[in-house]
């Protein structure tokens, strides 16, 4: 099939095929590693390869496949990409091993799409078959053959995309203009498929209809009603009603880090410090009879509660049921009092980061 690749690339006999392209797996003899080489079947589709090259060169994301080389092939070109040793998300079962695994996969997909949108691109073909999970548990998005810059040239004639994953606005018969909200829609369907292994009939019609009530109900997502509601909003029929993908990513990260936060509470320095976290959720601090308060950790936030008397957060009178700023000084006793009648508590949250 591939007749004239540079000699450094030796086909290893395996191959795959996509809608408009063939992928040949080769050994790169210079670096003794596998690479995936993508060629087009029909020379008239060359624009799709050049779009893909342009897209891959703009994006810097750990969740997007790496481009190594562009080589001549017959009358056209072929692109040489890193070979991802792992399953695509259509066949992988990693995300069904635990709720956290599903959230990790969805967070990475949302991060990857967010990186793509950050450079002004739209992927246009987000689906589980176009993502792979590598041996280190990193999700990589590939197949940018349909990608476009957002803005005025985001117009196409006729349907381009994958049925079931394409947003309603992509089915308009005349000239179709679109925004990066189509990737958010496709993310919503991808999340639905990965969580439930099913795409309801209403969403498979052309164009798709409203998402059925309870479509996201499943053991993996039932613990996270907020996320279910957010994913449903990704499937809003009107693109402007869908959340941005960075918002989706940030919301997922909150739950990935659930119960992982820690706060350090230091009372008057000399009296030592205590930690608040999942194993110790409450602390009560009092300077009788001047004032007292409690801090409670609910897994997502630290909440100031049961405030009595003179309690100030960063010099502002404190109220119960409020989230505490991530680093602050809580003082008991007003400024007018003698220092013996005042007590200072420093409060600092360690926000964990999502690492994969």
């Amino acid at each position: 099939m591939i007749s004239n690749l540079p000699t450094r690339y030796v086909p290893d006999g395996s191959s795959g095929r996509g809608g408009f392209s063939d992928v040949i797996y080769c050994s790169d003899t210079h670096l003794e590693r596998r690479v995936a080489i993508k060629t087009i079947k029909d020379p008239s589709e060359e624009k799709r390869l050049s779009d893909e090259i342009a897209a891959l060169l703009q994006i810097r994301s750990k969740h997007v496949v790496q481009l190594f080389d562009v080589v001549k092939h017959d009358d056209s070109v072929a692109i040489v990409m890193e070979y991802i040793d792992g399953e695509d998300l259509f066949t992988s079962s990693y995300h069904h091993q635990s709720e956290i695994n599903l959230l990790k996969v969805l967070w990475q997909i949302a991060s990857g799409i967010s990186d793509i949108h950050d450079v002004g691109l739209i992927h246009r073909d987000i689906k589980p078959n176009n993502m792979k999970l590598d041996n280190e548990g990193i999700v990589k998005i590939f197949d940018f053959g349909l990608s476009r810059n957002s803005g005025i040239d985001a117009v196409t004639i006729g349907f381009k995309g994958t049925q079931g994953f394409s947003a309603p606005e992509q089915y308009t018969h005349a000239e179709v203009s679109f925004t990066n909200a189509i990737d958010v829609y496709a993310f919503g369907i991808t999340a639905l498929f990965l969580a439930t292994n099913n795409i309801p009939q209403e969403l498979l019609s052309m164009p798709p209809g409203k998402v059925p009530v309870g479509a996201f109900d499943c053991p993996y997502l039932d613990p996270y009603p907020t996320l279910k509601a957010l994913f449903e909003r990704c499937l809003e029929l009107n693109p402007v009603d869908r959340p941005s993908i960075s918002k989706v990513r940030n919301e997922i990260s909150k739950f990935l880090l659930f119960d992982e936060h820690q706060a350090i509470v230091v009372v008057n320095i000399s009296q030592g410090s205590s930690l608040l976290n999942a194993s110790r959720r409450n602390v009560k601090i009092a300077l009788d009879p001047i004032g007292s308060f409690e801090i409670h950790y609910n897994g997502l936030n630290f909440i100031l509660d049961k405030v009595k008397g003179e309690v100030f957060v960063n010099n502002i009178l404190a109220k119960s049921k409020n989230e505490i700023p991530e680093a602050c000084v809580i003082s008991l006793g007003g400024k007018w009092r003698h220092s013996r009648e005042r007590s200072f508590v420093t409060f600092d949250v360690s926000n964990p980061e999502v690492t994969l």
């Binding site: 210079h30 670096l31 003794e32 590693r33 090259i53 060169l57 750990k62 790496q66 481009l67 190594f68 080389d69 562009v70 890193e82 590598d134 041996n135 280190e136 990193i138 992982e260 936060h261 820690q262 350090i264 230091v266 320095i269 030592g272 410090s273 930690l275 976290n277 100030f312 957060v313 960063n314 010099n315 502002i316 700023p325 991530e326 680093a327 602050c328 000084v329 420093t346 600092d348 949250v349 360690s350 926000n351 964990p352 980061e353 690492t355 994969l356």
Partner: protein, 357 residues
């Protein structure tokens, strides 16, 4: 421009030299334009062309590792007798230039974050059975200095070459060790078994080196000192006691204690008793450190013995309490690095670390 190339040289019709980045013990590094893909890359070539064979082995080895915390190997080529390795361009400086040369020591929050990311990169390489062998601050690339936008281990392959040189140096005795730049730079981070039996080192040697680097970040001193005197102390795992400022402040003590415990485990004499990279990833994951942006400012005259203000470069005055300072208290007029959080009146700084002059 040093080495075999000058500006605008084109290597193999593809890589156009646009600048000189620097040199390591073994290689010259150029900034180059990849003319095929129209992007910038790092182009590396050995200082000693006769090392070509080892250079290729090193490229093949590093190409096996694929992780966000490891600089990616993009290409390898030979032109005549000269070999080239093309690597992802990491825009930034190495850990020594970006961090160590700017502050006396690094606050535990930032150390924990670096430790976590480096453990992950190392775990990915150890999964591929690749030993780095030469982990040291100049082999770690940092994007955006203290913001740590990127943390990438580099020169995996080169390490094997360096090892060959180190072995020659070690077998040649003290004169050749001090003659080898590579050996001098690597020595403070070298595991005892890498000194005693360089050909037999395993993955555990990288764990030791990582521990030694984290020790230096947290305390500001190399655990065994530097120069040849360090050798004797390394082979008996005789590191300096951790200075008291590291743990004494309750604002940092909880995290410092955990960091010190883990660092000491990495610096265990028997390689088998050290944690694996996977175990380090798990332990670092439990640290819980803030990832807030870093700012820079100048200490003002303190309002009293306990607190005062820092004039922040772009925003204005930031409140500090002495207990938010990691290490020695900076004098008025001295530069500091800090994170800050919004507060009533003025923002509040935590942590505050003095910068070198």
């Amino acid at each position: 421009m040093k080495g075999p190339h000058k500006q605008d040289d084109i290597v193999d019709d593809r890589y156009q030299v646009v600048g000189f980045v620097g040199e390591g013990g073994m290689q010259f590094v150029y900034l180059a334009n990849d003319l095929v893909l129209d992007r910038q890359v790092a182009l590396k070539t050995p200082k000693n062309p006769s090392a070509e064979k080892r250079f290729r082995r090193s490229a093949v080895v590093s190409a096996k590792v694929n992780h966000p915390n490891v600089a990616k190997t993009l290409d390898y080529l030979e032109v005549g007798s000269r070999a080239y390795l093309v690597e992802e361009l990491v825009v930034g400086g190495d850990l020594a230039k970006s961090i160590l040369e700017k502050v006396d020591y690094v606050d535990p929050f930032l150390v924990a974050r670096l430790f976590h990311h480096l453990s992950k990169g190392l775990a990915a390489s150890h999964h591929a059975n690749v030993i780095h062998r030469d982990l040291k601050p100049t082999n770690i690339m940092i994007v955006d200095d203290f913001q740590l936008t990127g943390v990438k281990i580099t020169d995996f392959g080169i390490a094997k070459m360096a090892t060959e040189e180190l072995i020659e140096a070690a077998e040649g005795g003290e004169d050749s060790i001090s003659a080898s730049d590579t050996a001098v730079g690597a020595l403070p981070y070298m595991a005892p078994e890498a000194i005693e039996d360089p050909r037999g080192v395993g993955l555990e040697a990288d764990i030791w080196s990582l521990g030694a680097m984290m020790y230096e970040l947290l305390t500001g001193s190399k655990p065994f000192g530097s120069g040849l005197k360090a050798v004797k102390r390394i082979i008996s795992a005789d590191y300096d006691e951790i200075p008291s400022f590291v743990n004494s402040n309750p604002q940092f003590g909880h995290l410092s204690d955990k960091l010190v415990t883990l660092i000491k485990k990495c610096l265990t004499l028997n390689p088998k008793d050290r944690p694996t990279a996977d175990e380090l990833v798990v332990q670092c994951g439990l640290f819980c450190y803030p990832i807030s942006e870093r700012y820079f400012g100048t200490m003002k005259t303190p309002n009293n013995s306990n607190w005062g203000f820092i004039s922040e470069d772009s925003i204005g005055d930031v409140f500090y309490h002495v207990n938010c300072i990691y290490g020695s208290r900076p004098q008025p007029g001295e530069r500091v690095m800090m994170s800050k959080y919004s507060g009533g009146g003025a923002d509040r700084a935590l942590p505050v670390v003095r910068m070198k002059k």
